[in-house]
């Protein structure tokens, strides 16, 4: 030990005149810009999906109801309440948030004598509510997938000219990847008219437990194979994932489950119907509503006869939806399961012609009317009377029946709904086969943003060579001297809806156009053909703006008659299925009540 070692430490005395490093005002010193401080939530963006609650490893988050926020489509109305007696500020809730509404401020001081005070709903009234700084996740969500797994489809060149199914369906690996994206919030269930257990069957896909998946499907929907292809999938419009990416392909996953379970196994899985009750129910119309009701009633042991005017069961699913969207064998399998439950379907049996309503009423304990909308509307502009002008629903029916339908090299379609797309694309296929090229012009009142058709239908139609003229109001079907159709004269529609989305058309007469074509197809509204009721019953029934009046349980004003489906409610397959369940329940309640009475 030398003197040097004794003295050296003293050299740091030089710092004695340095400025102190002390922070003068430490209390409330601003934290870093990214600091993970107390939570903030944009309540108007928050959809109450509860993903934050699910990921919180501390069990710090509760989903609670907050005044002024009610459940609606794709929004549960619940908001996260955070317990700062649990939170660890890991911000996984922020990272996983589906909408990005949950963030953090850089506020960090909260002192209280009451331990119960540390619970709050961010976004309501906390002092740091409007803090700009604080932690937000960088970029988009990374904790759950944003991009939808691509669905393999036929190329436009390959699919035009035939009626083969376009969509390939997911492979197992693809389905698992897509199912993996689901966060199981369940917001979609309320939106689905049939309230299918969507998160549960997606979980079944993930677990590769297709048996369970199929059972889940059949609990709420006997037309899962149909819906897996052509459902309007409103559920996907309320999917939490759509806020920062693509919604989960719920429809394709449903189809995937069905694709993975062989037909025989299906019947095995859903099990045998209950013991026969001896009760009989007649159902008029073998469409989705009627057959769903038939399925439910048959499973409960009731005898069900379905009367169908056309040659095959399926209703609009068969006669309205073209084969390239819904192959007939897929539909046949769904109907096959229903028939396996003991449902008798009498095809080519038109009520009012082959059997009367009175007979049905006499021979059955209840009659359910599910006749759909099979009558096409006409614009009735000048020139629509006569040859060369057809209605879409009629043509689609004839195509399904394999009839030869009138065809022209250049066809003008009026309408912007799914039926218009269906007929345009069907005719395009026939044209391709007949003439080798497509010549379809589609005019619609609505502008492209307000089309009633699904966006993908519009895209695919265009891919297939359909020329779409949106916002054109039909004025006249032009005919030449011999009365042959030469085209459609239209005016431009400047705007079609007012600010509230109500119909308020404004035409621009100066922008007139003639769409050439030797055939015009009207694909606008549809109506129910209620002539089968007969004059007396029509007079006896209560009506509601052109439709048979029903109550919430689908009872008509006649105690023995029930009505459901498009004819009374609409507008799609899955709604018809939901109606079918509901009407079946009402019928069963009535039958049970009679049982008790006797």
């Amino acid at each position: 030990m030398g003197l040097r070692e004794v003295l050296t430490p003293f050299t740091v005395w030089k710092h004695v005149f340095d400025d102190p490093v002390t922070i003068k005002q430490p209390i409330g010193r601003p934290a870093a810009e990214r600091y993970r401080g107390f939570h903030q939530n944009d309540l108007d963006t928050c959809i109450g999906c509860g993903t934050c609650e699910a990921i919180c490893q501390n069990g710090a988050i509760d989903m609670v109801a907050v005044a002024g926020y009610d459940p609606e489509k794709g929004n549960s109305g619940l908001k996260p309440q955070i317990d700062y007696g649990r939170c660890c500020w890991c911000a996984l809730c922020v990272d996983v948030c589906m909408t990005g509404s949950l963030t953090m401020s850089n506020e960090y001081t909260w002192v209280d004598t009451d331990p119960d005070a540390f619970r709050f709903v961010p976004g309501l009234e906390e002092p740091w509510k409007d803090d700009e700084e604080g932690y937000e996740r960088e970029g988009k969500r990374v904790l759950s997938g944003i991009e939808r797994i691509h669905m393999e489809e036929m190329e436009p060149e390959a699919r035009i000219g035939n009626f083969d199914e376009i969509v390939a369906g997911y492979s197992r690996a693809e389905a698992i990847l897509e199912a993996d994206r689901c966060v199981e919030c369940g917001l979609c269930v309320a939106t689905c008219p049939a309230h299918m257990s969507i998160p549960d069957y997606i979980a079944a896909v993930r677990d590769q437990d297709y048996d369970r998946g199929l059972q889940l499907l059949y609990e709420t929907n006997p037309f899962s194979e149909v819906c897996g292809r052509v459902c309007t999938h409103k559920c996907e419009g309320s999917c939490a994932a759509l806020h920062e990416g693509d919604p989960i392909a719920i429809r394709w996953l449903k189809r995937h489950i069905i694709d993975e379970v062989p037909f025989d196994r299906r019947i095995e899985l859903i099990g045998q119907p209950a013991e026969p009750t001896g009760r009989k129910v007649a159902i008029i119309g073998a469409g989705p509503a009627g057959l769903t009701a038939a399925f439910d009633l048959a499973r409960a042991g009731h005898g069900v006869v379905v009367y169908e005017a056309l040659a095959h069961a399926g209703g609009m699913m068969r006669y309205g939806i073209p084969e390239y969207r819904l192959p007939y064998d897929a539909l046949d399998r769904d109907i096959g399961v229903i028939e396996a439950m003991g449902v008798e379907i009498r095809t080519n049996c038109r009520v009012g012609r082959d059997v009367t309503m009175d007979e049905l009423r006499r021979d059955h304990d209840a009659v359910v009317l599910t006749i759909g909308l099979h009558m096409g509307r006409s614009t009735r502009v000048p020139g629509t009377e006569g040859a060369g002008v057809e209605k879409a629903v009629d043509l689609l029916r004839r195509i399904t029946d394999g009839e030869k339908v009138p065809l022209a090299e250049q066809i003008v379609v009026i309408g912007g709904g799914n039926v218009a797309m269906d007929i345009a694309r069907s005719m395009a296929r026939l044209q391709k086969a007949e003439f080798g090229k497509v010549g379809i012009t589609l005019t619609a009142l609505e502008d492209i943003d307000h089309f009633l058709a699904d966006p993908e239908e519009v895209v695919e139609s265009r891919e297939e060579g359909v020329k779409i003229f949106d916002a054109r109001g039909p004025q006249e079907v032009m005919r030449d001297a011999e009365g042959k159709v030469t085209g459609l004269r239209t005016w431009r529609v400047k705007s079609i809806f007012d600010a509230e989305g109500r119909f308020a058309p404004a035409y621009d007469q100066s922008d007139e156009r003639v769409h050439a074509g030797s055939m015009v197809i009207e694909a606008i509204g549809q109506a129910a053909d209620t002539s089968l009721l007969g004059a007396a019953l029509t007079e006896a029934l209560e009506w509601n703006r052109g439709r048979i009046k029903i109550d919430t349980a689908f009872r008509t004003s006649e105690p023995w008659l029930f009505a459901a489906g498009d004819a009374v409610k609409g507008p799609d397959v899955i709604s018809a299925v939901a109606d079918g369940h509901r009407v079946a329940r009402t019928v069963m309640e009535k039958l049970a009540a009679r049982e008790v009475a006797q």
């Binding site: 999906c49 609650e53 459940p71 549960s76 109305g77 119960d116 917001l187 269930v189 309320a190 309230h195």
Partner: protein, 176 residues
Amino acid sequence: MRDIHALLKQRHRLGPLEPRKGGLAFVTVPRENLRGLLLELRDTHGFTHLVLLTAVDWMEDGLFQLTYMLNNRGRDLTLGIRVMIDREEAQGDTIHDMWPTAATYQRELKEMFGIDFPGSPRLDEEFILEGWTDLPPYRRDFDSLAYSQQTYAERPGRVTHDPREYMKSKLYPDGV
């Protein structure tokens, strides 16, 4: 690693070598072969560093897996040696004579899993827990949350709602 495995296999009943990336591999041996294997690895093959000793509870199979992780520092090889022992009469062979530090691991295993290592020093002394009367907590049949809820009071008054059920109750209470 494969060379050592091939060499050892002649004298010990080794399972197949399960290599992972970065000089790491796992191998299973029967309990009676363990000490001999460890000795040989330590003295002949340079696996002188006992990285860790721990157990995995395979409750469904009625087994405990003891994992002895040895490291050869010179060649940067790590070998995880698995010994499966019966869960009901959980007993292992002490190796504190080879690595004194193993006594600590064995004390922990005794306390946390209830695995006995006869001959290991201070085995029955309390290590981490104090006054513990329940099942050894790392056993999988010990439910931490249930124990916690039965023993310690939580702050009451919290309620949560499942979004799906909540929407059902508000939008379609009768199910349709």
